[in-house]
Amino acid sequence: MRLTVNGTEHVLDLDPRTTLLDALREHLGLTGAKKGCDHGQCGACTVLLDGRRVNSCLLLAIAHQDSHVTTIEGLDGHPVQRGFLEHDGFQCGYCTPGQICSAVGMLDEVDRGWPSAAADDDPLSDAEIRERMSGNLCRCGAYPHMVPAIRQAAGR
């Protein structure tokens, strides 16, 4: 099967049960995407699939041969990454690649005018950022440092 990740097409011989997350981590050596739960419950495995954020543990790799996958390794010095560094938006770092990929996807959703349950007038208010990022758990509790990091990356 084929898998296009960060602009490179890979040809792989995989068990059809292999998830996209395991394909990245176990077969392509791209361990930036993390496995926190393997059940779509934590967001640590978030990557961008054709630009949209997804939980890669919930996808079978074989079903996405025609997609473009972007992982944290493919975000080279993105403003969200810089924001996380400047605001100390992490501690142990295990949720971090997922948080960053999720934030990148989220900012694009805002650009497209997608609403969130926070329903603020300003789609990038702190309450909106928090609501939109709530699929990504951080057990270290680095949330208060992530919100300004994301706000900064959004140019606020």
């Binding site: 393997d38 971090t96 609501e131 949330y143």
Partner: protein
């Protein structure tokens, strides 16, 4: 040598930050190891019984199916949970009873799912009750305190007091759930064992696993750790299983715990039942305090949490009693979770104090200040420093406490009842012996090496700051090496003691190098640490919460959470803030969200994943702040630092619970505060 500014205290950015935001930081399961096979743990489906046979599907593509019937025997160590696959006895549901090894993760997982287990199940008991006939008093509680203390006559104090409080608070099982599950890759080269392992103590894991396999050379690599919160303090079954499977198959083996297994085999915070009785005069002066704590342990191991120990030194009172009571159940062994003892103990004590303030009609801050001790009330030893009252006063100013109407259910804004609450915080200041090495390199830099770990605490960065000041050089000239058991032996990253313990050794090594002009110095802090006098060493803090409770649904939101701390010298203002806030957020989880829900029939926590076990998410954390006093304490260690990793979760749950009462008039004495517990008592609008 001249340097101008001191590195310690500066808000230095985390050294490993660029690696973490780019995905380059490697965690245990992520090392590329040639020919690695995958091990999948088979958990026991019953809480008690005997495993009599394991039958693998003959068509499955596995390399090995290990269980007690065929696993090599291992040397016993202190922790019986590490005697994996050694006996037919099943002591809790979720206990590892077999390991399937296969070429791929998919094959191993599938084979584990279809494995046929023959089990003789036995009657089991899984529910903690204070009146259970099996309840006993342990000899000591962690880490070696007497289980019970009595001073004066607390019963008479209670019988003759103007005002008394007699309340029972309960806390549920709580689960550490670091985001990185426990994981190990094991590889043997002859009798040399290499473990890439996620833990809080590489030196300790190497020693333990070496003992189990009877080998001297165990190399544990723990470069980055995705959190632990106590659950990775010692070797866990994953390390032993991976090494065992690698021994049997002759291949390197990777064992990663699925999230579900994180609820059972790596420890959790024991549920507690706590009865607190307070006796006080009209003016609020306490005459008696009694704190009796009930908690559970497993059939395998006596883990006695020190829940009521904190009450021995928090407030003055002439008559006092504390006690611990334990029940063995067919349940997983509780272990350490962030502030074990202090977190649940201070929930009960600080809520009881709030209830006393209500009865006295007294401000809860004034009540606490009234009972400030001048020395440790039970031991009589002096405090090295104690600025609890200052935390309460300064915190109250910053939070905006004055003018608060003490009566509950008075403030209504739209659909919300608003309330505020306060609670104290404390955590012991500890240090353990460690060894550090420093080398002066030809390029003018210095290499500092110590077998410590950084779980996200900022330890790596802080050690550079400490070394820079001790060497009298800029931090850019210090290179740090940690996370490897072949480096000089370090103590565990636990008990909020990492920076103090490792910093002590690093300071010793660096000062000696600077003063002697040698190229390399190795310094062992054992003697200095053991020479410490008996003194009351504690960090203090005060937590303030403002909550709003939906008048219709009972939903609780924390609008503001504030912590004011006196924790010695703050070594890095930036990472310290993360530690304090992270602890407070976990405290919010303890107050409102987290709960292992037990199914007594199955002996398991039914909500054993991150969909069922709720931890705080982005949207739960609104306004949250931490601040600290400039506290100087030159009696504790060369840095003058107190541990800060745990104090944030001590007292913050009580502040929230007390604020819920203030908002609604409802006392929730059974955590977490769920809306179904509030709904019936909500005040009429």
């Amino acid at each position: 040598m001249t340097t101008t500014t001191k590195a310690v205290g500066a808000p230095l950015a985390r050294i490993e930050g660029p690696e973490k935001v780019s995905g380059r930081a490697r965690y245990a399961a992520e090392y590329p190891v040639d020919g690695v096979a995958h091990g999948w743990i088979v958990p026991s489906p019953v809480p008690r019984g005997r495993l009599t046979a394991v039958v693998a599907d003959p068509t499955g593509d596995t390399m090995a199916v290990l269980w007690h019937g065929n696993a090599p025997s291992l040397a016993a160590v202190d922790d019986p949970e590490l005697a994996v696959l050694q006996s037919d006895r099943i002591s809790y549901r979720g206990q590892p009873i077999a390991l399937v090894v296969a070429d791929t993760l998919e094959a191993a997982r599938r084979a584990a799912q279809v494995l046929h287990l023959e089990i003789e199940a036995e009657e089991h008991e899984t529910v903690l009750r204070a009146d259970h006939p099996g309840v006993y008093e342990p000899e000591t509680v962690n880490p070696g305190y007497p289980a019970a203390t009595v001073h004066g006559d607390v019963e008479t104090a209670l019988a003759t007091a103007d005002v008394t409080v007699d309340v029972t608070y309960s806390t549920p099982a709580l689960h550490n759930n670091p985001m990185e599950p426990h994981a190990t890759i094991a590889r043997w080269d002859g009798d040399d064992l290499t473990l890439y392992d996620s833990n809080q103590h590489p030196s300790g894991v190497a020693a333990t696993v070496g003992e189990i396999f009877g080998v001297d050379r165990v190399h544990v690599i723990t470069e980055h750790v995705g959190g632990g919160f106590g659950s990775k303090g010692t070797a866990r079954p994953n390390a032993v299983l991976a090494a065992l499977a690698a021994r049997v198959t002759g291949r390197p083996v990777k064992v990663v715990l699925p999230r579900q297994a994180m609820f059972s085999m790596v420890g959790h915070r024991t549920p507690t039942l706590q009865r607190v009785r307070l006796a006080a005069g009209r003016d609020g002066t306490l005459s008696g305090i009694d704190h009796q704590a009930y908690s559970q342990t497993s059939r395998l191991y006596e883990f006695a949490e020190q829940t009521a120990v904190v009450t021995r030194h928090m407030y003055a009172a002439p008559h006092r009693r504390t006690g611990h009571h334990l029940l063995r159940l067919d349940m997983p062994t509780p272990r350490w979770m962030r502030a074990p003892g202090e977190a649940p103990g201070m929930l009960a004590l600080e809520c009881a104090i709030d209830e006393l303030a209500e009865k006295l009609g007294m401000d809860p801050i004034e009540l606490r200040i009234r009972n400030e001790p001048s020395a440790e009330p039970e031991s009589g030893v002096a405090f090295t420093s104690r600025h609890y009252v200052e935390c309460l006063r300064r915190g109250a100013e910053r939070f905006g406490w004055s003018g608060r109407d003490p009566r509950p259910a008075r403030r209504r804004e739209g659909d919300w009842w608003i309330g505020t609450g306060v609670a104290g915080a404390t955590y012991p200041t500890m240090a353990q012996p460690s060894t550090a090495r420093v080398r002066a390199l030809p390029d003018g830099t210095f290499e500092v090496a110590i077998g410590a770990t950084d779980l996200g605490t900022g330890a790596r960065t802080i050690l550079v700051q400490i070394a820079a000041d001790a060497l009298d050089v800029a931090p850019e000239r210090v290179r740090i090496r940690i996370g490897d058991s072949t480096l000089p032996r370090a103590s565990v990253a636990g008990g909020s003691s990492g920076s103090a313990s490792w910093g002590w050794a690093v300071t010793g090594a660096c000062r000696s190098l600077r003063d002697t002009g040698r190229d390399e110095v190795t310094f062992d802090s054992t003697e200095l640490v053991q020479r410490q006098e008996t003194e009351g060493r504690h960090a203090y803090g005060a937590h303030f919460a403002e909550v709003r409770v939906d008048a219709v649904t009972g939903e609780v939101r924390v609008s503001r959470l504030f912590g004011m701390y006196a924790a010695g010298r703050i070594l890095n203002a930036r990472t310290a803030r993360g530690q304090f806030l992270g602890g407070m957020i976990m405290g919010m989880g303890m107050a409102l969200h987290e709960e292992g829900v037990l199914d007594p029939a199955m002996g398991e926590w039914v909500n054993h994943d991150l969909a069922g076990y709720h931890v705080p998410v982005h949207a739960d954390v609104e306004s949250i702040e931490a601040a600290w006093l400039d506290e100087t304490d030159d009696r504790i260690n060369p840095m003058g630092s107190k541990g800060i990793g745990e104090i944030g979760i001590v007292g913050s749950p009580a502040a929230i619970v007390n604020a819920v009462w203030h908002a609604t008039g409802i006392r929730i004495r059974d955590l977490p505060v769920r809306l179904d517990k509030i709904l019936d008592g909500l005040p009429a609008s």
